[in-house]
Symmetry: D2
Subunit: 151 residues, 4 copies
């Protein structure tokens, strides 16, 4: 992942209790930081999509999470959380998150979070709505990959 691909960044500070007995941030906490990034990204681009609430119009689930750990974060470290939607398919889209030490720029972790759009009863996937595509395209510009398959 390259910094230049990202048009959105937020910042978190490592909290004391997120650090395990090795003195480093526990491996699941990096995923929480990326989740903060995604929530703030959606607010920022003005998408009417709440990843954490079930409602009938927009029902999206996390289907897969991938994370590569590059270097450990430590207590009180300030972390830049870069977030983008990298790909949109027929009924799914992929968030990328990149964590870097805000002071030194050192890469901490890279995350890919796969989401699927469901119908209101969650029985099957449906097409990503056009208004969501439009708003993401506008924000991501040339970096967004759209992969559409004929049914």
């Amino acid at each position: 992942m390259e910094k230049q691909q990202f048009n959105f960044k937020t910042t978190v500070r490592v909290r004391t209790y997120e650090v395990d007995w090795q003195g480093i941030v526990h491996n699941t906490v990096y995923l929480l930081y990326c989740e903060i990034g995604r929530v703030e990204y959606l607010n920022h681009i003005g998408a009417d999509l709440d990843l954490n609430r079930v409602n009938s119009t927009n029902r999206v689930v996390l289907s897969r999470n991938e994370i590569d750990y590059k270097s450990p974060a430590r207590s009180n470290m300030e972390i830049d959380v870069y977030t983008r939607i990298a790909e949109i398919g027929n009924s799914s889209f992929i968030f990328e998150g990149m964590l870097r030490n805000a002071d030194t720029g050192v890469l901490i972790a890279e995350n890919r979070a796969f989401h699927v759009w469901l119908n209101s009863t969650a029985s099957h996937s449906i097409a990503v709505p056009e208004d969501f595509r439009t708003i993401v395209r506008k924000h991501e510009k040339g970096n967004l990959k759209e992969i559409l398959q004929k049914p």
Copy 2:
């Protein structure tokens, strides 16, 4: 992943506070359950390897985590955590974890956790020690994939 590939299983019960406002277990908690599985697996096979403590003889880091979410877990659910080491390479190995509803057998999530063996100062990777290979081979029998590359 197939149940028959796993020779080790442990059980966890979902705790009240692990459930988010959708009434389902938060996405990072499944990774914690898999971590419980790995710790108990290592105890069970008798490996002298503490994934959570740094010591000079055995220093292992988690380098990558992958998880596929299949169906949500809910409060108080009993979950079977299947754990195995699926692959060993020159200096790395892969844990697989599979979570199933203990009552119904329904698949909840599948995890692959990549680990790398480091030298005592963590400056570079080293070969997976022979005694660790032996003990894993013995436990995993024919299911273990060993991928060794010429240097």
Copy 3:
């Protein structure tokens, strides 16, 4: 608190990731163990009361938590969680929780959790329902303290 006062006990095992960088369980986790005890206690006595869900008939909130830390718990330790309702007032009741090392009996922590019964819109407190009092009295027998004040 005395063991003999408690008619209900459940057990938790410390999970790897609950331990901080001192090698001991983080101070808030003991409160989570006590919460597990309360949920299981209510199931056990057959009270139709879900401390974690809002519904119109039974709406109860935690108003105060007190905990005395006596000795640290460590990774993988098995802990006995003793739980009882110690006092019921007009519109409130107090849970006591006591944590002990399951192997050695050593006291780990003591908790008092104060709860208030609210009306369905949560605008003011109401009397603890008679059926809840009855079921608690039956379980706690002579140890329950009932403090009723004239309005």
Copy 4:
């Protein structure tokens, strides 16, 4: 607790995953916010005291935590965390923490956290060091209560 008694304030924002299925912040998380306040307070006043690390010169343990819940915090809320040392005794001291909605000023919770100073092997309590008293007195001015008992 009164705002005017506090000479130190920091701010936290509620994170998505800290909110439970009632849509409100889980009861233990408020204690974590107060802990953040204490760590930043000690940095701010320049005290050489790390509440989360064991070292031979300054060994301090949390012996008791009290919290009164006044009104729930919700996702994304900005919270002012007021922190002070309210009392110092022979070998102990008390932190007070007060959480308020940063936008509305509404009171969320009040915390008292009791700490004890131990000798390097943690076998018994020792006197609070004079340099720590001095630095706290200087910061808290007239609000600090010092309770010294003859041995």
